[in-house]
Subunit: 264 residues, 2 copies
Amino acid sequence: MNQIDGKSARALLLILSTFTYLLFGAMIFDKLESEDDNRVRDEIERVTERLKNKYNLSERDMHLFEAIAIKSIPQQAGYQWQFAGAFYFATVVITTVGYGHSAPSTLAGKLFCMIFALFGIPMGLVMFQSIGERVNTFIAYSLHKVTPTHLLMVSFTIGLLVIVSGTYMFHTIEKWSIFDAYYFCMITFSTIGFGDLVPLQQTNALQEKPLYVFATILFILVGLAVFSACVNLLVLGFMASNADEVTAANREPPSAIVLERFAR
Amino acid sequence: MNQIDGKSARALLLILSTFTYLLFGAMIFDKLESEDDNRVRDEIERVTERLKNKYNLSERDMHLFEAIAIKSIPQQAGYQWQFAGAFYFATVVITTVGYGHSAPSTLAGKLFCMIFALFGIPMGLVMFQSIGERVNTFIAYSLHKVTPTHLLMVSFTIGLLVIVSGTYMFHTIEKWSIFDAYYFCMITFSTIGFGDLVPLQQTNALQEKPLYVFATILFILVGLAVFSACVNLLVLGFMASNADEVTAANREPPSAIVLERFAR
């Protein structure tokens, strides 16, 4: 009974902590964004009024034009469903990043998307974990006498290199600010994937820059693999510093990675 | 050496499989979506031309109007950064769903978003796993003599109930088709979160329907928790059917959940 109470208390505590964290986040986001939001809101109204009066646009035509403009965003960015665009989309699905820069419009497309994700996401996860484990093993062997801390530092460095090169590449080619390019990398590797910044949507890149298309997709996949490796190591380090041996009864068992290291 | 070769071979095989899967997916998406895409493309061009000619819009003003229309999407949907909207956004961040219906515009907002995600995502993951474990334990105790298959069936049923109620709720309130509402649930629980369908963006719901706001956020969190429980069970079932006892040397060690069950 004691163990159950402990775990239930832990679950409750986590729920409360997360809820409090969301409240805190909401307050900060409100503080940081509301002012700018109002400024943009006013600007939109001013410009819309000006255009409406200049051309004497009817209400109906204005809404029609707005709807068309919105619909045309993915269109203007390129052929989203031709091969390069479709491959990019498929990548964005199975990694669960889900930018939304393009999304299926047809019922069949949506249906296939769900099925594709159902098998693709686990496949991707297993692949990333497998690559991550190989990368960590390789580093460990290369560095001979290595501690989890060394391993973590090397993985972190590789991760940093991936982020720096990605930031530089997108800053240069997409003409995003360095900060925006970095922010894009973070939002991608966390798999949040807002879609506020999406590569391959300018200058018909999908059709005309195959090398850049390849580099972008590779970047997303490699970055996520490295990220997986780092997370695995962090879990290892955390568990190893907490666990004695594997005492399964009263303790949360360590992760598979920890056991593997103990077993070697 | 043999074990390393085996694991490297496995990693390579997974990479090849995933790549092939992406290729396959790209081909199918191309087949399913390109025709509709071209149809919409033509429609957009026709309507744009018609409006341009009707009002004799200058090229510059047209682009300005398009830019304004696009900028106004989140604005028209409501006050995205006032409390309800900000809380909704914070939820969408730490669950990594990342619809992108709204995203920070300010540098400070983007910076805070990354930091908020850095701590919030692990917190959310741990919370979901904790809840999932409690749910499974509760079911197991309630059903006394229960096998992993029973557990899975019950969890699946609960999951199905969550999806059905969510589908019904969004179909009714957002006026999405039943299929679209269901598709939305799937894209949300997989954390892909395209943002092609996003609740709370119509009829000023964020400000005027607090109960619906609460229900939507609760739905996302509960759904992900149930989803976590199901995934945990699937891993358990898969591992249990593969593993003898915990033979760590030559075998991929089972997951923490499996060990926990063995230990009880």
